[in-house]
């Protein structure tokens, strides 16, 4: 379309002014993070799928730069470079362009994102409910009606796994694959089968470790096959994984009841207020019950914010595409002509600031609104 008309631009600006007024009234300080960002920071965090959608270029010195594909990471970098005490509670909001190669209908390659980030929040459930409330209020201030809020909660899934007897490394791998339904299912199947029935091209290497010191045996195999050690992976790294695979062989396969519990958990879905009973039917183990308790507090916290959780939708496998997040994930959709369209999303991402250089882990929760899409669905 080669740009916006005067009236389109004015309508977008009016809408976004209404959104930002909600954020600023709530005490969020409006900042303007850089549009041009070092590419590595996004690409190392997000991997190749985001890279494929990011505008990357080089400066004359050969450094890789990019146009920001999102504002959360730039806001985190802003925070870390502007304060000596990044753990102190800080509330930011922002409005500005982000850039991505389009991958779907109604997704322009440059779009304006409005959002907020709340770093170092203390009462986590209350802060999360507040962020959802602000996102809803901002959308309503922009004139939107009939929005639908969907939630997921990684805390429940983690608690369910924590209560199940299995090696910690299995839990780690299941958590890691939570985001990828197909890979997750394959992994679950692998753990449910006796490990010695699985043979591959490295089974011989695992056999060789039996009764041996893992590192010594691995060094010996490398020397015996005259293999050069290349890449940063050390003999110890390689030996440790071989040793894990050997240990897996003597583990009890994951009990059928646990496989069923995990699978039924991932199918849990419904109105937020009707989820507790579904969850309790799956497992009554202590940490999981604790997570359910926290979930019920979440419902109360949403009510405290004047929201109606009966109209919110919970889905256990929700947010499987959003690897960023560490706890709550939410998305706000609007019924559009053909299918529901997502106009806002957010959640908790407690590891991101540390990942970007903070010395300690700092809690963080935030949300972002896709303002162009919002204007499009309302007109």
């Amino acid at each position: 379309m080669a740009g916006k008309t005067s009236s389109h631009r004015a309508a977008l600006e009016r809408q976004n002014a209404a959104i930002m007024a909600v954020f600023e009234r709530a005490g969020f300080d409006q900042i303007a993070p850089d549009i041009i960002q070092p590419a590595d920071i996004f690409l190392e965090r997000s991997g190749e799928d985001i890279r494929a959608r990011t505008f990357v270029f080089n400066d004359p010195a050969g450094n890789e730069l990019c146009l920001r594909p999102d504002l959360t990471v730039p806001a985190c970098r802003y925070h870390l470079s502007h304060t000596k005490t990044p753990e102190a509670e800080t509330k930011y909001c922002y409005l500005g362009p982000a850039f991505r190669f389009p991958d779907e209908l109604l997704s322009p390659q440059e779009f304006t994102q409005a959002g907020l980030e709340w770093f170092g929040d203390k009462a986590d459930i209350a802060a999360e409910a507040r962020v959802i409330k602000l996102a809803v209020s901002a959308l309503e201030a922009a004139g939107l009606t009939g929005l639908k809020v969907s939630l997921g909660d990684l805390g429940l899934f983690n608690a369910l796994l924590d209560d199940m007897p299995m090696p910690e490394r299995w839990r780690r791998r299941l958590r890691h694959q939570f985001w990828r339904p197909q890979a997750f299912r394959n992994l679950l199947e692998t753990f449910a089968k006796p490990a010695r029935t699985i043979r591959s091209s490295i089974s011989g290497n695992i056999d060789a470790l039996e009764g041996q010191d893992a590192v010594a045996e691995t060094s010996w195999m490398l020397a015996d096959q005259k293999l050069n050690l290349v890449t940063l992976r050390s003999v110890e790294d390689i030996a440790a994984r071989l040793h894990e695979k050997l240990a897996d062989r003597s583990e009890q396969p994951l009990a059928e009841t646990m496989v069923v519990a995990i699978e039924s958990y991932l199918k849990v879905s419904g109105a937020l207020t009707e989820i507790s009973s579904q969850l309790k039917a799956i497992s009554k183990t202590p940490r999981f019950l604790g997570a359910i308790d926290k979930f019920e507090q979440r419902i109360a916290a949403l009510e405290d914010q004047g929201l109606n959780p009966r109209r919110f939708h919970f889905s256990a496998d929700f947010g499987r595409e959003l690897e960023y997040y560490t706890g709550l994930v939410f998305q706000i959709d609007v019924e559009a002509r053909n299918a529901p369209l997502s106009v806002a999303g957010g959640g908790r991402y407690d590891r991101l600031l540390q990942d970007l250089g903070a010395v300690i882990s700092i809690p963080a929760v935030g949300c972002a609104i896709h303002t162009d899409r919002l204007l499009a669905v309302m007109s």
């Binding site: 997000s46 991997g47 190749e48 494929a52 490295i202 691995t218 890449t231 992976r233 994984r241 071989l242």
Partner: protein, 231 residues
């Protein structure tokens, strides 16, 4: 009758085998002007011109709809034309120029057999070194698609325009996606194909523009070539 342009490789073994195919089909390629000319025509058919281009240029021109058909490697075709973009597709597999596009890791990675291992290693590598595994390849799209299918995201592509198999040893990448016929080059560089690391079993193909495939002289040509393919 519409004048059609088909492209055939301008050099190398692929060119020789393409010429043999046309001979078996009873067709002769006549170059305009000197032997070095880049255009010619196909004697024995109606209104078909020949362009001599590099195999990768043929794939690009098929994507852009600039030629009606061409002989190129399936690897280049799949790399250049995204699935779902049906501007041109394989009409005939020609059963020459076989080559596999594969994922290969350093042989010293004694603990890595399958793509799922790679995902696990990628996660630990990031935790230890704070950066992603790097994959050296010239097949950016094939790699992205295959890794996405396998649910692997924790990696980066380093574009490589030659001697890809040397990347792990020289430290510019940890693993590679490359083409192999006998596996000898991989072996010589101490690289091993993952058990489930076959991305594409490629061979030379005759690919045709979707609209051109309906035309009578193209249908005749496809018939002649089809009968000349050696099983």
């Amino acid at each position: 009758m519409t004048l059609l342009t088909i492209a055939i490789p301008s050099k190398g073994r692929l060119m020789e085998q393409a010429n043999e195919l046309f001979e078996r089909a009873g067709l002769k390629i006549e170059r305009y002007g000197t032997d070095r000319g880049y255009r010619g025509r196909l004697i024995g058919t109606d209104n078909i011109e020949v362009a001599f281009l590099s195999a990768s240029e043929i794939a690009a021109q098929l994507r852009d709809g600039k030629i009606d058909a061409g002989i190129t490697g399936e690897d280049l075709l799949r790399e250049t034309i995204a699935p779902g973009n049906d501007v041109a597709d394989v009409a005939l597999r020609l059963n020459f120029g076989p080559a596999d596009v594969v994922v290969a890791v350093p042989e010293c990675w004694l603990d890595v057999a399958v793509m799922a291992d790679l995902d696990d290693v990628a996660e630990q590598f990031y935790a230890t070194h704070g950066r992603r595994l790097r994959v050296a390849t010239k097949y950016l799209n094939l790699t992205r698609r295959f890794f996405a299918e396998k649910g692997i995201t924790g990696y980066r592509i380093v574009e490589s325009l030659g001697a890809t198999e040397g990347a792990p040893a020289t430290g510019t990448a940890e693993l590679i996606v490359d083409i192999t016929t006998s596996g000898a080059t991989l072996k010589a560089n101490q690289l091993r194909i993952l058990d489930d690391g076959l991305i594409l079993a490629s061979c030379a193909v005759f690919a045709v523009n979707k609209h051109s495939a309906q035309l009578e002289n193209m249908r005749n040509l496809m018939g002649l070539l089809g009968r000349a393919v050696v099983a």
